[in-house]
Symmetry: C2
Subunit: 204 residues, 2 copies
DNA sequence: CGCGCATTTGAATCTCAATTCAACAATATC
DNA sequence: GATATTGTTGAATTGAGATTCAAATGCGCG
């Protein structure tokens, strides 16, 4: 038998297994057995912890978003210079390649969000948090005089998140000319226009 | 029995039924019986025309995209003034509300495009066509001197399509403050920045 | 140690959608 | 108007995945 675990540990495992299974099989096409297999358990054990599969899927999506957001914050955490911070943040919002797990999961959710209120709310909340994150960077840069904002910070923030989203989809769908690098450059291009800062990859 | 129809007519009906069924139940969660019911037939009849369901779904997605794209072209067709044409085109790329069928179907596809090459290609192709559409408008406006482009037309076109995409998702997911109107205004805001044209709703 | 509870299995069962197909009905063909 | 062809049904079958549950197993604890 598989290593026996405490309730909390096992639930954490299952959330992670569900996340990975959804990336492979789709947010809605995923099957109980696939999640069980990912976790190295039988379907009965999964059901023991989550009698309603939907609860597990929601928790898994929630966890995936939290992980995605936290990672972005962490990557930009130590950077004081607003220009460098903005560049780093933009990079962290785009997939590293077509198989990037974090972005793939978010993409899976897009369609379901139109039919499912819970998923819609989840995605909407993430969007707003990311906008706030950008606003903070933009306002700081403006206050320091390194950014000359071409509009209010909320609008620019929204556009940055929107562009990331959309180009993330392109990368994941394997657009022939919009790969991970090109996507970064496209978003950076808008950021330059909106901040009046050259945002060179390695600013002095 | 339901009215009997020719092969071609019935297939057209089924494509439309599949499109509507997918919008209601999801691109991947849709069932044969739901499509049959939408078409007013039994599952056997559907299978008679499409032994492999996937073929029907692909054709339905293809038709949905074609319809979406053609509609955009048609709405802007008679307009000579580049500024008005750009405004109209932007409007036509965004959903009219959270239940907009055209955009809903495209959103459904986003997640699947990462796992399914056919869907990925379909979406990528649509993206590129829309970019070309915008490029033509931008270039015309620049040639006439009414637009002062803040970058090359391809980049601006890509950003316009990307913003439409992303805000379309927000509207469909019922974002509390980004409704259909706000989405139009956000994309227009970028278009103003990129073209240097005020793009007022009713230009003289 | 041994009791008792929590976790997991595996097999049996249930459920529901896909699939098959013989029979039937509408339409076309001559 | 007879016959062939095409489209459709409805009922039977199959199959895959969800669900249930008694039994087995590991673990904490007195």
């Amino acid at each position: 038998m598989t290593q026996r675990k405490s309730r909390a540990d096992r639930r954490a495992d299952l959330i992670d297994a569900a996340r990975r299974a959804m990336i492979r099989h789709g947010a809605e096409g995923v099957h109980l057995n696939q999640i069980a297999e990912m976790a190295g358990l039988t379907s009965g054990a999964v059901l023991y912890h989550y009698p309603d599969l939907r609860d597990l899927l929601i928790e898994a999506h929630h966890a995936g978003m939290e992980r995605f957001y936290e990672q972005r914050i962490r990557k930009a955490a130590g950077i004081a210079d607003p220009a460098r911070k903005l560049i780093t943040t933009i990079r962290s919002g785009l997939p590293e390649g077509p198989d990037d797990a974090g972005v793939r999961l978010l993409c899976e959710l897009g369609g379901a969000a139109g039919r499912n209120r819970v998923y819609g709310t989840l995605l909407t909340t993430l969007f707003d948090r990311q906008v706030s994150m950008y606003q903070a960077i933009l306002e700081t840069g403006a206050a320091q005089g390194v950014f000359t904002l071409a509009g209010d910070s909320e609008t620019i923030g929204r556009n940055l998140v929107a562009l990331e989203d959309a180009y993330g989809y392109r990368v994941v769908a394997r657009h022939h000319s919009i790969d991970a690098e090109a996507a970064v450059e496209l978003v950076l291009g808008y950021a330059r226009l909106a901040t009046g800062n050259p945002l060179t990859p390695i600013p002095r």
